[in-house]
């Protein structure tokens, strides 16, 4: 049984992307990036059960991955894959978190910059060693990413999150159908309120769990796998 009640307060303009309604162009574009981020954490038999992320890190190039999935090369999303898969040293530094989407829970967030991260700033000023500050920061829930800790933002989502993203897109489209909004703020607030409601509703995609719990669980697993992989390959990373 669904047990959820909406909080009190606002509604949104819509941008049609395929058959989804999203309140802003930025959030509609973000869907694509979240999907790519998630797909990079899924193991494929074509890559000997490695994830694209692992394959690219090991080969220091995305060529093997693109050869295994030639269809991507001809797809309009190819340039986005290329951009996300150019995994340089920067990927392993704490700053890389600001290039991640934060997934479905953060789909309506603006681009997060280091200058907005007051938690990190405070830790840098309190800790003598930068490394220690980063170690503390990576585990702390952050209000920049819906209370996800930076290490889980860096890890990104996987198969379940990719499916939940589609589910939420359909849910939002149903909720805002034929609604008109006076301002961008109005549109965004309505969309976010729907997201916060949806994230607590038991969902079949994750075997009746609430999406929020399933997303976190999956990201924790991905984080563990990434950490183990990087350690095994002696790659230094601020998040491990």
């Amino acid at each position: 049984m669904r047990r959820g009640i909406a909080s009190g307060d606002g509604e949104s303009g819509t941008l049609q992307l395929f058959n989804f309604s999203f309140p802003t162009k930025e959030s509609a574009e973000k869907i694509l990036f979240i999907q790519i981020e998630c797909s990079l954490n899924i193991p494929y038999s074509e890559l000997n059960d490695r994830t694209p992320y692992e394959d690219v890190v090991l080969n220091k190039s995305a060529t093997n991955f693109f050869n295994a999935f030639p269809i991507i090369k001809n797809a309009p999303v190819f340039k986005y894959y290329k951009r996300i898969l150019s995994l340089s040293e920067k990927e392993f530094a704490y700053k890389s978190v600001y290039s991640k989407t934060g997934g479905v829970l953060n789909i309506f967030n603006p681009k997060i910059r280091e200058s907005m991260d007051s938690e990190l700033k405070t830790l840098f000023s309190r800790c003598e060693e930068e490394k220690k500050a980063i170690r503390l920061w990576k585990d702390r829930p952050s209000e920049l990413w819906s209370n996800l800790p930076p290490k889980l933002v860096w890890a990104s989502g996987g198969e379940i999150e990719r499916e939940l993203l589609l589910d939420f897109s359909q849910y939002l489209t149903r909720m805002v159908r034929r609604k008109e909004f006076d301002t961008r703020g109005d549109a965004l607030i309505t969309a976010i309120r729907n997201l916060r409601e949806w994230q607590f509703q038991p969902n079949e995609i994750c075997s009746g769990m609430a999406p929020i719990d399933a997303l976190i669980k999956e990201r924790e697993e991905i984080y563990e796998r990434k950490s183990a992989f990087l350690k095994e390959n002696h790659i230094e990373c601020d998040f491990v």
Binding site: P110, E143, S146, R184, L188, I189
Partner: protein, 214 residues
């Protein structure tokens, strides 16, 4: 130059709003414009006494208040910028934070604006209520809860104290239901919300819905 702009503001206020502002009356006019709640009037009285603002400040405040009432965004932003050279005041900071939230949907900027508001008027229910809402949007429910609780405690400083108290209690109940699954506490909060504002359809509906779950 400054004199010219002052003359321009005075002429605009006279022509568009049929109000004559002078060195002698501008403080009273600003208080009349704001009207209520009493706690805000006390704050503005105190602000004017401490900072001894000028007639130009009075003109800009008057124009900001009117633009805010009409929800005319370009003017709100223009007068906010022009007022930046004076010591910060709660009314314009919170007005701007509301614009960031409701008009632009800039949640982080709005959050910062309401925190600025709290620095200027600590324990202000309006700021706490809005921060409760903003943290709900940000998905940070522990902080949302904290601010709604503070809004309940400080509700007397609000424009419509009973309504703000009831809405805060309702939102606390929503967090109890959705996040903590504490239905007993949620029921208590909803009943308290209805005691503060008996005509509150959402709270009645929520209580009814909860009884169906039992």
């Amino acid at each position: 130059m400054a004199k010219n702009s002052l003359q321009r503001y005075l002429a605009k206020i006279g022509k568009e709003f049929d109000v004559v502002l002078t060195e002698e009356n501008y403080k009273d006019v600003i208080l009349e414009e704001v009207e209520s709640p009493p706690a805000l009037l006390d704050y503005l009285r105190d602000y004017m006494e401490k900072n001894e603002p000028t007639l130009e400040w009075g003109c800009l405040m008057f124009l900001f208040i009117r633009a805010d009432e009409e929800k005319y965004v370009p003017d709100i932003e223009m007068y906010y910028k022009l007022l930046a050279k004076y010591p910060p005041n709660w009314f314009i900071e919170v007005g701007m934070a509301e614009l960031q939230l409701r008009y632009y949907g800039n949640i982080f900027k709005a959050r910062d604006g309401f925190f600025k508001g709290l620095e200027l008027r600590p324990d202000n229910a309006h700021c706490h209520y809005n921060l409760g809402f903003i943290y709900h949007l940000l998905g940070v429910f522990n902080k949302s809860f904290e601010h709604y609780e503070k809004a309940v405690i400080t509700h007397q400083t609000a424009n419509k104290p009973k309504e703000l108290k009831a809405r805060s209690l309702y939102n606390l109940a929503v967090i109890k239901i959705n996040v903590e699954r504490d239905y007993e506490e949620a029921e208590r909060l909803l009943k308290e919300a209805l005691a503060a504002m008996p005509r509150y359809p959402e709270a009645k509906r929520a209580l009814k819905q909860m009884r169906q779950w039992e």
